[in-house]
């Protein structure tokens, strides 16, 4: 059952549509990552859910409650939404101790003293901050500060946790550690997560489902595996993982590259609409292309670079350059060789 529900949510800044008629459902306890290049509207979406931005159209619900609605001109103020939120720049208060930072939301709620203390300590323990509770957050590392922010968000026992690039300001080796800590906390407390990031591996590792956005428009929503293996369009294909594309002429029988004609690679036929345009984009992952000595799509090896575990090839096919990655154990052609390419899982997209 949908717990958080975005319905036709739209946000405009002047003439720019930052978020365009977005629909999204997030289940209780689900982790949803919003992924996209900077300026794609993912942070704006998160801020609308948090209540920091009004809507230009649509509505947002949590459970049975409407929390933002353009039509009803109703916006529940952020301070009444009972969400936890963690920001990229930590946003821990330097004038308060670690303990007071975490206790702040509880004090605001005028809880009994004993309960404030118990819940603050609980949150501090879960985030391994108990030993530094009386210190200033300014003395902590980036990872430590982000733990304070997490503990503060946890203290109110939220149903929904909003994370705005929480790991981007951390050193790379801390990121992986924090990723697991967040996942661990979610398992323990069962809150839903809406997670904004531009780092695809972070999104893959953490989330149950991924939403890919571009220019305010949702491109695809699905599990990490679905999005990776079945990208909805060229943008998603390119944004997630390594990719290469070949623009090819299409005939009803197969493809044309320069002067050469080939049958459909692996028998995967593009949709009728694409064939009708006479041109199509063949998309493949560099690791999912094999070298074959006979047949295949012919090309010439331009470059061969050893990257340690893998070997990176550039092969010219017609006018296009194709990138291929093979493990170092695989026998491959040399620079200048004529070779054949087999596309193991080809995808077809229209040429824009």
């Amino acid at each position: 059952m949908a717990y958080i529900e975005l319905n036709q949510v739209t946000k405009r800044f002047g003439s720019v549509t930052a978020v365009d008629r977005m629909n999204l459902e997030i289940a209780q306890g689900e982790c949803m990552a919003m992924l996209g290049p900077s300026g794609c509207g993912k942070t704006t979406t998160l801020r609308m859910v948090a209540g920091f931005e009004d809507l230009d159209d649509g509505e947002i619900r949590v459970g049975e409650r409407i929390i933002s609605s353009k039509a009803k001109k109703y916006y529940l103020p952020p301070e009444q939404r009972n969400f936890g939120m963690v920001f990229q720049a930590f946003a821990v208060w330097p004038h308060l101790s670690v303990y007071e930072n975490v206790a702040f939301p509880l004090r605001i709620r005028n809880l009994p003293k004993a309960e404030i203390h118990a819940r603050t300590e609980e949150a501090l323990k879960h985030t391994n901050l108990f030993s530094v509770a009386q210190g200033s957050p300014d003395d902590l590392s980036g990872g430590g500060k982000q733990r304070v922010a997490l503990a503060r968000a946890l203290a109110i026992r939220p149903d929904v946790m909003l994370l705005d690039e929480p790991l981007s300001s951390l050193d790379p080796h801390f990121r992986e550690e924090m990723r697991f800590e967040i996942k661990d906390l979610q398992r323990r407390f069962g809150f839903s997560i809406l997670y904004v990031t531009h780092d695809q591996s972070e999104a893959m590792a953490l989330s149950d489902r991924i939403l890919v956005m571009r220019g305010g428009v949702v491109q695809q929503i699905g599990t990490p595996l679905q999005v990776y293996s079945n990208p909805a369009n060229r943008f998603v294909f390119e944004f997630i993982g390594l990719s290469c594309f070949i623009e090819a002429g299409l005939t009803p029988a197969g493809i044309r590259l320069g002067d050469a004609s080939y049958p459909w690679p692996e028998g995967v036929v593009p949709s009728g609409e694409i064939i009708a345009t006479g041109k199509g984009l063949l998309a493949a992952r560099p690791t999912e292309i094999d070298f074959v000595s006979e047949g295949g799509i012919r090309g010439e090896v331009l470059r061969k670079v050893y990257l340690g575990e893998t070997i990176d090839y550039r092969v010219r096919v017609g006018d296009a350059e194709v990138r291929i990655q093979k493990t170092r154990r695989t026998q491959g052609p040399s620079v200048g060789d004529n070779c054949g390419l087999r596309f193991i899982y080809p995808h077809w997209y229209p040429v824009q």
């Binding site: 942070t43 948090a50 103020p77 301070e79 939404r81 939120m85 720049a89 330097p94 004038h95 300014d138």
Partner: protein, 567 residues
């Protein structure tokens, strides 16, 4: 190899040492000697160290009263200025006030206007009997008493507040703008409403900026001469700088009055040092890292129904503090006789004509101020760049002394510097500059050296050593490297230093009022003395001219600086 060991073994005395000695020499003569003479005169009587006499001087009614007044006035100005400055800073950065950007610029204008000219204008408007506003209420609306007496503690505090609140305004609006908005958003999402956030998060986080601005107001107000001198004279309200002025001017340089003045100066120096020490502590202890990382605008408080009333408050405030006094100055400057109503038939260009083209006193004063400003700005600019170079770039022992000496006048009130210069250059050491324009120049150089050092050091710190090393590696000599690499890179700092000195020097009163002679009045002194002599219309007309020169100067700099940055 041979030359290397030679160079090392010799107690070398090369260019760096020469420059160092030269810089120390200049600063000692210009800054250290006058300051030391003040302490010497204050504590040394008939060849003995004598603290009992100092106490005696402090216990005199007038000294004691001056101290008390200084405390009351600067304390009052600090409180009101901080409140006003913080409120407007918050209004233009954190609310949806209309025309915020314009308002922000307008709130900085009072910084350009000399406070004593403002005081002059307010005297014309609100003096109990002759003030135009008071007369309007008494003559037209039939009030029995003036509605406000500007010759009072409250009046002085009010006028000083108008011109000093930007110290807090600049600091606080800067801090609020740079502050990471997520610090407040995280409090909101934690459940706090805007009022609670302001109280528990925003104010504590910008408190260091508020306090530091407040202490600047206090420092400035403590040392401020003009407003108190103009508005306090009728009712006998005087602060320390005014009493120093009276001691020096009215007692014709008797030993006792000089001593009293030096004791007062010592008190001022100690107070200023205390204030600056406090400010340093506030800044170093409370320096939170609150600078924003991401570019989202802070949540603006929607004023809703208060939007227009708040705009009106701002416009009225700006109208009262900038437009009304400025207009008054120009109008009174155009009156045939002070006190006449502002009818067209009472207006004349003759005053302006007279002070600009006919009267030597005023013409001299304009000339003096401009030449003094140019000369002191040029000298301090060049001396400043050399001394900063020694401080920032050279590895010479004892350069801490340079820094201390150069920055010292920054914390020393103008009247103290003037007094020190009088003690040092009135013939005691064989050179008598008293009553000449040179004594003012020497005082200006001492006063403004710190400005130049700050601007030039900041510029020099940006020039990384490797830039010079790269030039040397490319075959340039040290002199060529300086000329072709360092100087072009610090030129903006030098230009900044020039204007940072030239403009304040143009409107200067506190120092020159203690040093002027019959033909060496500055614009400030001329305006002040004309007013004292009851030549109110001429005083106003000259003040009007001064305002035009100052505003033109400011505009010119903005032009110069922005076109430099653009290139």
């Amino acid at each position: 190899m041979n030359t290397l060991t030679n160079a090392r073994s010799k107690p070398s005395f090369g260019t760096p040492e020469l420059l160092f000695m030269l810089s120390v020499g200049v600063l000692v003569i210009v800054v250290a000697v006058p300051m030391l003479l003040i302490f010497f005169n204050a504590f040394w009587v008939d060849g003995h160290f004598n603290i009992a006499d100092v106490v005696k001087v402090l216990q005199r009614k007038e000294t004691y009263q001056a101290l008390l007044n200084s405390l009351i006035l600067s304390g009052g100005v600090t409180v009101t200025g901080t409140l006003v400055g913080t409120f407007f800073a918050w209004l233009v950065t954190r609310t949806d006030l209309p025309f915020k950007k314009t308002m922000k610029l307008l709130f900085l204008v009072p910084f350009m206007l000399p406070a004593f000219i403002g005081a002059l204008a307010w005297k014309m408007l609100l003096s109990p009997r002759a003030g135009y506003i008071n007369r309007l209420f008494m003559d037209v609306f039939g009030f029995d008493n003036p509605i406000f007496d500007i010759y009072s503690y409250a009046g002085i505090i009010l006028v000083e507040t108008m011109y000093l609140f930007p110290f807090v305004f600049i600091q606080v609006s800067g801090a609020l703008e740079r502050m990471d908005p997520t610090l407040e958003e995280s409090a909101r999402i934690s459940g706090a409403d805007l009022f609670t956030i302001t109280r528990k998060i925003t104010i504590p986080l910008v408190l260091p900026s508020i306090l530091s601005g407040a202490l600047l107001i206090m420092l400035y107000s403590m040392a401020h001469f003009g407003t108190v001198a103009v508005l306090g004279v009728e009712t006998g309200i005087y602060n320390i700088p005014v009493l120093i002025y009276e001691k020096i001017h009215q007692s014709a340089g008797s030993f006792d009055s000089i001593r009293t003045a030096t004791v007062l100066a010592t008190v001022l120096v100690i107070t200023a040092a205390l204030i600056l020490w406090l400010q340093n502590r506030v800044l170093s202890k409370g320096k939170y890292q609150i600078i924003a990382g991401k570019s989202f605008r802070p949540t603006e408080l929607k004023l809703r129904g208060l939007r227009i009333p708040m705009l009106i408050v701002c416009i009225v405030y700006i109208g009262l503090t900038i437009v009304l006094p400025t207009a008054t100055i120009f109008l009174v400057g155009g009156l045939k006789t002070y006190g006449l109503p502002f009818d067209l038939e009472n207006m004349t260009w003759a005053n302006y004509n007279h002070i600009l083209f006919e009267w030597d006193l005023t013409r001299d004063s304009i000339w003096n101020s401009i030449t003094l400003g140019l000369a002191s700005a040029l000298i301090t600019m060049f001396a400043g760049v050399i001394i900063s170079y020694v401080i920032v770039k050279m590895k010479v022992r004892g350069k801490g002394i340079l820094e201390f000496l150069g920055m010292l006048p920054f914390s020393v009130p103008g009247s103290v510097i003037a007094l020190g210069v009088i003690l040092a250059w009135s013939g005691k050491f064989g050179i008598n500059l008293y009553n000449t324009v040179w004594i003012i120049l020497v005082a200006y150089i001492a006063r403004y050296m710190a400005f130049s050092l700050k601007a030039n050091s900041a510029a020099l710190e940006q020039v990384h050593d490797s830039l010079v090393e790269a030039a040397r590696a490319s075959g340039a000599s040290m002199a060529q490297a300086l000329r072709d690499v360092v100087v072009p890179l610090v030129r903006p700092g030098m230009v900044a230093a020039f204007f940072l000195i030239f403009l304040p020097a143009l409107r200067e009163l506190t120092v020159s009022v203690l040093l002027y002679g019959p033909t060496t009045r500055t614009i400030g002194v001329a305006i002040y003395t004309l007013n004292e002599d009851g030549e109110t219309v001429y005083s106003a007309a000259l003040a009007g001219i001064a305002l035009i020169i100052i505003v033109l100067g400011e505009v010119l700099i903005k032009r110069l600086v922005t076109s430099k940055n653009g290139a």
